[in-house]
């Protein structure tokens, strides 16, 4: 017996790992013409891994205060060996993680993988996407540059629109009436402590559920063809991960993250301030909404509708009743297509109007 066998025997004896190992070794991945979508969750996962590693490295130099944040990031980028690369990778992998998570969500939606018994996998996935948005929103402020400062100012103002809880949330996020030194402390706290705890918990549950229940197959696929998860699919996963790592490195080297000017709280808001791309569709919705609608504040209606859309997304497994009976519904399909068209269209529209 080699050392590895000894170790396995040691662990088996004490922790009865047999069940888990059985799950992993016996898990299979269905083979059909939609199998390509099975890779996107794994790619999101590896990007989150990159985020954890690069984020931990950034912590070595980053200082969360209005006085030092900008300078510390500047120092990291100009003086620290490979500091520029770590920050660029963190910024790019963040965007790609959100993109992959969105594609993953859309594919799961259209392949109806949220059908019973996988409702909770879907719910944890949607909440994970919301958490990624939270990471993006809080992380954007941390370099304390002009763009980030004003985007956060506008972003937290939007939070204040929500009736009753809005102003409380706004004050809580800002740590005062305006974006300032305390805000940076709070966003840092959310970004490196609170959100990671939530992410780790939900991600573990999400992965555990997938391991326990195996991969879902769309209701209309009748074939039983499959491949073992380990090693066949896992090796393919590794290929996808290598590709995504290559993409992250390419964009990070060719278009390194920039820093811009240090935020000046007393400067007037620059024109054309926009949030990160994944918030653009919400931002543009708010901008084009009429001032008043049905006797309510237009902004309030827009925020309310966005909130309802989020809630509906969370409850998709229960709202899609035909899927619960293993049936496809053109209505659900149309709602999904329209939703994607709206988000993509609004994002494009916001990017198009920006220069004007």
């Amino acid at each position: 017996m080699g050392y590895f066998e000894h170790l396995r025997a040691f662990l088996h004896e004490r922790y009865r790992l047999g069940g888990l190992v059985d799950l992993a070794t016996h898990k299979t991945v269905p083979i059909h013409r939609h199998s390509v979508w099975y890779y996107w969750g794994g790619m999101t996962l590896v990007l989150i891994g990159i985020q954890i590693i690069s984020g931990v490295l950034l912590l070595l130099y980053y200082r969360p205060s209005a006085q030092e944040a900008f300078e510390s990031v500047r120092f990291l980028m100009t003086r620290v060996q490979f500091g520029w690369l770590v920050r660029s990778v963190h910024a790019w992998a963040a965007n790609l993680a959100i993109f992959c998570a969105m594609v993953h969500l859309a594919s799961v939606f259209f392949l109806k993988a949220y059908r019973p018994p996988r409702e909770l996998t879907w719910v944890t996935g949607v909440v994970l996407l919301f958490l990624l948005f939270g990471f993006g929103f809080t992380g954007y402020l941390l370099p304390w540059n002009t763009l980030a400062f004003f985007a956060t100012k506008v972003g937290t103002e939007i939070a204040g629109i929500v009736p009753v809880v809005g102003p409380v949330v706004q004050i809580f996020l800002r740590g005062g009436s305006d974006v300032g030194d305390v805000t940076i402390t709070r966003f840092f706290w959310l970004h490196v402590a609170i959100l990671p705890i939530g992410l780790m918990t939900l991600l573990s549950l999400h992965l555990l559920m997938i391991q326990l229940q195996g991969m879902s197959k769309p209701p209309w696929v009748k074939s039983n063809r499959s491949m073992p998860f380990f090693p066949n699919f896992f090796l393919r996963d590794l290929v996808a991960w290598s590709l995504i790592l290559g993409i992250v490195l390419c964009v990070s080297v060719h278009w390194p993250a920039t820093l811009g000017e240090k935020a000046d709280p007393f400067a007037p808001t620059p024109v054309g301030i926009q949030p990160e791309w994944y918030f653009l569709w919400m931002f543009q919705t708010l901008k084009i909404f009429p001032g008043h609608l049905f006797g309510l504040e237009g902004e309030l209606v827009a925020v309310g509708l966005t909130g309802l859309a989020g809630l509906a997304l969370l409850l998709v497994p229960w709202l899609d009743r035909p899927a619960r009976r293993e049936q496809s519904s053109w209505l659900v399909w149309a709602v999904g297509v329209l939703g994607i068209a709206y988000v993509v269209g609004m994002t494009g529209y916001a990017l198009w109007v920006k220069p004007h």
Partner: protein, 428 residues
């Protein structure tokens, strides 16, 4: 006369401000507002006048009785009515208060009281004393009514308005020809570095006519004083000049210091071409080829050109690095330091000694070389990053190829081993 009185009486009746005003009555303004013609003007300008703003009124200059409603009584010489002063009376008329510290202290303690005395020493004042009607008196520059503070941008003596105010006479050939004076000063000044700064950029720190010539004491800056006039702003240059060999030479030859090279009204932005022995160099107008001054001029110019060459090379490298998207903040800082040294070197030209300029040139070159070194380092770093990326991508490509081969291997053996197992399952 009856018609005039009737008009005034009618005006008074129709004037609610006068009848119902709770303030101290001022029949001068109320009546003059109603009349037509030249005497109406002063009344309409009263509100803008700095004297009115400080609580003075018509009576304080012109005398009379503003409480009397009858024009005869109001403008009664027995009540001290002086009327309109004649032109030759004006300087003294104003000086009654403006040359009296006790009076001025009551209204504006900051205002000097020597304007009249200075005026009498000026060329304007001297000509005035001998009865020259062309020279300006107080109201020529300050207006008679509606006199504004010199801090008021609408005042004719506000810094940016002064050149135009002086030019209203000094660019008028019909006046200047009589006195044998040129009329091109304003044009020259407006083309000069000073005029451009003041008139076109609105930089009120730039000198106007009065900055060099004085205002009330206006005079030609005489030969010996020119250096001091320029030194009001260019003090370091003046100090260097005073210690230079040029000082004694200019004094001995009676030359007007700064003006010899830079001119007076048409002072252009100085260029490096002014220095040395080239076509546009001013040095060669005095220094013969082969003389010590000639050689020094050459040395000083080459010191400046050397630094400029280093800086140009560094700038090109920094620009290249910036175009590649590299951070060049530190290199730009070094370049700014070099630029500071170049500016200082140009100032130290006025020491007229190559040895004095040498350490400055060295310091500037040091910063320029550092900037270039940092920029080149950034460019190398850029290429290193690109190469590093390629190496990484090749490694990743190898890993991917290995994985793909492994998958093919695995599945080929799978399909040969388990063909029988999987086929029936597929068909079921």
């Amino acid at each position: 006369m009856t018609g005039y009185r009737l008009r005034v009486a009618l005006g008074l009746l129709l004037c609610p401000g006068f009848v119902w005003s709770a303030e101290k009555p001022n029949s001068c303004v109320e009546c003059h507002k109603q009349v037509e013609g030249q005497t109406r003007g002063p009344a309409t300008l009263a509100a803008e006048d700095v004297h009115f703003q400080r609580g003075l009124s018509c009576v304080d200059c012109h005398g009379g009785d503003p409480t009397a409603m009858d024009p005869q009584a109001a403008m009664d010489p027995a009540k001290g009515f002086l009327g309109r002063p004649r032109r030759e009376q004006i300087p003294q008329f104003c000086a009654r208060c403006h040359a009296d510290p006790a009076t001025m202290r009551k209204y504006n303690p900051n205002l000097p009281t020597d304007q009249y005395a200075k005026y009498l020493t000026s060329q304007h004042g001297k000509r005035f004393s001998v009865g020259d009607a062309d020279v300006p008196v107080c109201i020529s520059c300050h207006e008679a009514h509606g006199i504004r503070s010199k801090k008021d941008p609408a005042s004719p003596v506000y810094p940016t308005n002064i050149p135009g105010t002086c030019a209203s006479c000094h660019s008028d050939a019909s006046i200047m020809d009589k006195h044998g004076l040129p009329v091109n000063q304003h044009w020259d000044y407006s083309q000069s570095v000073h005029g451009q700064a003041l008139l076109f950029r609105g930089d009120r720190a730039a000198p106007h006519c009065a900055s060099c010539h004085g205002s009330h004491e206006a005079a030609k800056p005489r030969t010996v004083a020119i250096g001091n006039v320029c030194a009001q702003c260019h003090s370091l240059t003046r100090d260097l000049f005073a210690k230079s060999p040029h000082k004694a030479a200019h004094e001995a030859l009676g030359l007007p210091e700064c003006e010899v090279c830079h001119g007076n009204h048409l002072i252009r932005k100085p260029s490096d071409e002014m220095l040395g022995t080239g076509q546009d160099a001013v040095c060669v107008s005095c220094h013969e080829p082969g003389s010590t001054g000639y050689v020094t001029a050459q040395q000083m110019r080459s010191a400046i050109e050397q630094l400029k060459t280093h800086m140009a090379s560094a700038e090109a490298a920094v620009r290249h690095a910036a175009e590649l998207g590299m951070d060049v903040g530190d290199a730009e800082f070094e370049l700014r330091e070099a630029m500071t040294q170049l500016t200082q070197e140009r100032t130290y030209v006025h020491s007229f000694s190559a040895a004095t300029m040498e350490p400055i040139a060295e310091e500037g070159t040091h910063h320029a070389l550092r900037a270039e070194g940092q920029a080149r380092q950034a460019i190398r770093e850029f290429h290193f990053r690109r190469q590093g990326l390629w190496v990484t991508l090749i490694i990743l490509a190898l890993v991917v190829s290995g994985l793909l081969l492994k998958i093919r291997d695995l599945e080929r053996s799978d399909s040969t081993d388990k063909m029988d197992d999987t086929s029936p399952r597929d068909s079921s």
